[in-house]
Symmetry: C2
Subunit: 523 residues, 2 copies
């Protein structure tokens, strides 16, 4: 696959140097000094945490095959899918597909274990699979929340603001997809506004629409404008989210979108969407069995559509609070499932999606942080390759929070540095420093410290490390307050990455034409 | 070692059934319904996270031996210690002890890899070492903070309140030591008030005083009243914290306390106390080398005092913010050191202390939760056996927070459930449920769910899982507000565990007599 990106003439660097009209000189000066950086996707230099024994893995894998063969999965309203399965050797009973033992796994073997998703700025390309971890923001909430405005329905203006924040976030590699639902735009047209926002307000990779096969096709068409037609057919430029309607049901809308993407060589995350106890058994091993069966069936189907189409083994899992019926996040059972699913995905040789800054809290408060941190840590150690919802997720996915977006995004830096592992070269061993300083210390002034301190430790861009007295004098701000300020700083310093005018105009023309071709629908 | 506990006649259960005067009938009814539980210490059924390769471990171990031999360690103001080292084969140069390669490791081999710390209620005994994890509360802060009163110097009343909270906390196995510094009591007498509080207000195991050898002796004497003299000499009833004055200095106060405890068969945590970059090299591998050298020297010394004395390999490690000089917590480098130190401790065959709900934040806010959660998760996976500061730590250890105490204590439940690992027996496999429910679901009503839901998922006692509307009607409380309410609930429902009157009187008499024997000192 080609490494370059078509349709992009100006470099990221040149875009950053431009200043735009409208601000005073002070604001320009601040902008000039504000450094926009994007970290490379994570390549882990640490082991994965393997919670399941070989024996446990074999039990789950055997049971998943039993489920696929004896219980089967439903492909709803999709005769073409049933025909594909029949030709592949499955037994069809109505809309139920019984998959003989071993067939799904065998079909999955043609899906790549690692692939490149290209961005329009080739420096932002990501590799998904193996030891990598790509961080993408929250996906799907109909509401937004911020300190100033509280909780409210999301609009396209909110959407664009989140895309800008994502572009400005160092530790975020991916612009994501539905960072919030722009509810002020017609349901059948909002995908166009979302796509053009990702394409023009950011230069990071992004996701396509999945809410109708025709909207998936619009996504492909717009990418062909952005990247060039040949480039899209030869390379993966979108990674899109295909949820299984758990338990074990593949509906025609999601499968229709998957078919469009697979045919066009675009990546799909085939993801069980499970609240354990409601959409899967109340036990971890039972849930893992079902997840494995579902994802194998979905990815096998993608390979029937186009052998070699890139896919990701997805597991979105919450547990349930049996008192209220609410989904719960950051729980021990969710971590168990994440760790186990990662092992199952690796044994299939597939990239793995799970995790994120998941939480049930209504506010970006301590509960939100505990729950999110539990999941972020598990995702890093559990071998996640693509982490949707890395930042901004609130209230069980009902709300995209501006403050939580920058809070979580800062913590992603922690994951980057943990993933580096521990260096043990001569400089890192620091024997000379220990000899030089000796008993009693201190190390602050020694040569080794002076040479290494700038790169030795991760440093937050958000949290407060100041002495108590300074912190108090500055207003005793909590993290939510600091985060609200950081959101404003990032937005004020945002500068749109440059784009060739012809492409920009062609994208706009496409969106306008498509919007004019059908009446608004809000269902 | 005997399993029972001397000097305790009433059971925990009978104590809970008692109601005390002073409250109305409503309060009594609430008390009666309030369930006081203490979970058994954690026994992990999950693997440890091993971040260092065999080669890296050998480099660090080799370098630590080089340091001990060529650089050496200082034993200050302690001629008897120098003499012990000389007789063991070390070379003494002034107060510097040069330990020949292999000697420290060899001496460490007589320390037990796992030991029992007895509580006055034998149901609260803890095992420290191997795959266990024992959780103890925050240790050392001179300040306390709560929502109502803000930040202020700690008093003995605060101390007693924390001991009561610890007693009431299900996931806390240990009453700890200096849960806050009772600054309203003379420095030379406060250990007496702290000890009698742990002994009488809780029945969980606790820590002894280390601020003077004579205070360590008071701790032993009071334990002999509580447990019986023979029992104390034959069993471990205290685990106390001996910090190394890093780098590589062992002062006479701490070593004097260690000598008292080791002679009396009581456990010491020999703990490097390091802010990386200030008291150790700015690199992780260098810091691990120094930690290993220091802890080996300290534990080797404990074995020279009494071969077989129980010890714990301790690593308290923060990184440093090079801008402000402040210690920082929950950072990637701190996690690296925790994981690495755990491996080094296990290769020495010693129980391991690290971790806790460590944070630098001034408030129990999002920063506090992220930082604490990062460390709590690392501590579980990194194989920590004794976790001081499990709950209540705030502001880099300057503050004990009442709200954060119950916040963190709730999260310890997450660790308990993760540690259980994943069951794969026939019930957990849930094949029958998957067959029964089939594609489309739901699982909520199926037999397997009904039989298992009560025990399937961990459930918080603090966080809010309610629907948005209910939460809003109830006042839209954040976690700090919920925590403040929980503190009050626990304190209102507190009932002192019963104690034989003679023992209680003897302890009181000891404290009064000791206090009367010397004038107050506040330095």
């Amino acid at each position: 696959m080609a490494a370059g990106v078509k349709g992009k003439k100006m470099t990221e660097g040149s875009a950053h140097k431009r200043t735009r009209g409208g601000g005073g000189s002070a604001r320009r000066a601040e902008r000039t000094s504000f450094k926009i950086e994007t970290a490379k996707f994570i390549e882990r230099n640490i082991p994965n945490f393997e919670i399941l024994t070989e024996e446990a893995l074999e039990i789950i894998e055997t049971n998943a095959e039993v489920i696929l063969e004896e219980v089967g999965v439903n492909f709803v309203n999709n005769p073409a899918a049933l025909e594909r399965w029949r030709q592949a050797g499955a037994t069809i009973d109505g809309e139920r597909v019984h998959i003989p033992r071993g067939l799904a796994r065998q079909l999955c073997s043609t899906a790549p274990s690692r692939f490149t998703q290209h961005a329009r700025n080739s420096e932002r390309n990501v590799e998904i699979g193996g030891k990598t971890l790509v961080c993408a923001p929250v996906y799907g909430p109909p509401f937004v929340r911020d300190v100033a405005g509280g909780r409210r329905y999301a609009t396209i203006a909110d959407f664009q603001k989140f895309v800008k924040l994502g572009y400005m976030s160092k530790w975020l590699h991916h612009s994501g997809g539905t960072v919030c639902e722009p509810t002020d735009i017609a349901v059948n047209k909002r995908h166009l506004d979302m796509l053009i926002a990702h394409m023009t307000l950011s230069d990071k990779p992004f996701m396509g629409s999945v809410t109708e096969p025709s909207r998936a096709q619009d996504s492909v068409d717009m990418c062909e404008i952005l990247f060039g037609k040949d480039f899209v057919q030869q390379n993966t430029v979108m990674t899109s989210l295909i949820n299984v309607n758990s338990p074990m049901t593949f509906d025609d809308v999601m499968m229709g979108a998957l078919e469009v993407y697979a045919k066009n060589n675009q990546a799909c995350i085939v993801s069980s969407f499970i609240v354990g106890g409601a959409m899967s058994p109340v036990s971890v091993a039972g849930t893992l069995t079902q997840v494995l069966a579902e994802v194998m069936a979905g990815i096998a189907y993608s390979q029937l559509v186009r052998s070699g189409a890139p896919t990701i083994f997805g597991a979105f899992v919450a547990s349930i609070d049996m008192n209220s019926g609410a989904p719960t996040f950051g729980t021990p059972e969710a971590s168990h499932i994440l760790y186990g699913a990662g092992q199952l995905a690796r044994r299939l040789g597939l990239p793995f999606r799970s995790g994120g800054g998941l939480c049930g809290s209504k506010l970006p408060d301590v509960q939100a942080a505990y729950e999110s941190s539990n999941t972020l840590n598990a995702a890093l150690l559990g071998g996640v390759n693509f982490m949707l919802h890395s930042c901004g997720w609130l209230e069980g996915g009902l709300v995209s929070s501006f403050e939580k977006f920058v809070m979580d995004a800062d913590q992603l830096g922690v994951l980057h540095h943990i993933a580096k592992g521990i260096e043990t070269d001569v400089n890192a061993q620091a024997l000379g420093a220990i000899r030089e300083v000796g008993p009693g210390g201190p190390y602050l002034g020694c040569a080794h410290t002076q040479e290494n301190f700038k790169s030795a430790f991760w440093r937050t861009n958000l949290l407060d490390y100041k002495p108590f007295e300074t912190w108090q004098e500055e207003g005793a701000r909590d993290t939510a307050t600091l985060a609200a300020e950081r959101v404003e700083t990032l937005i004020q310093n945002y500068q749109q990455p440059a784009m060739e005018q012809g492409i920009s105009e062609a994208l706009t023309e496409y969106v306008l034409r498509k919007k004019a071709s059908i009446p608004d629908s809000f269902v």
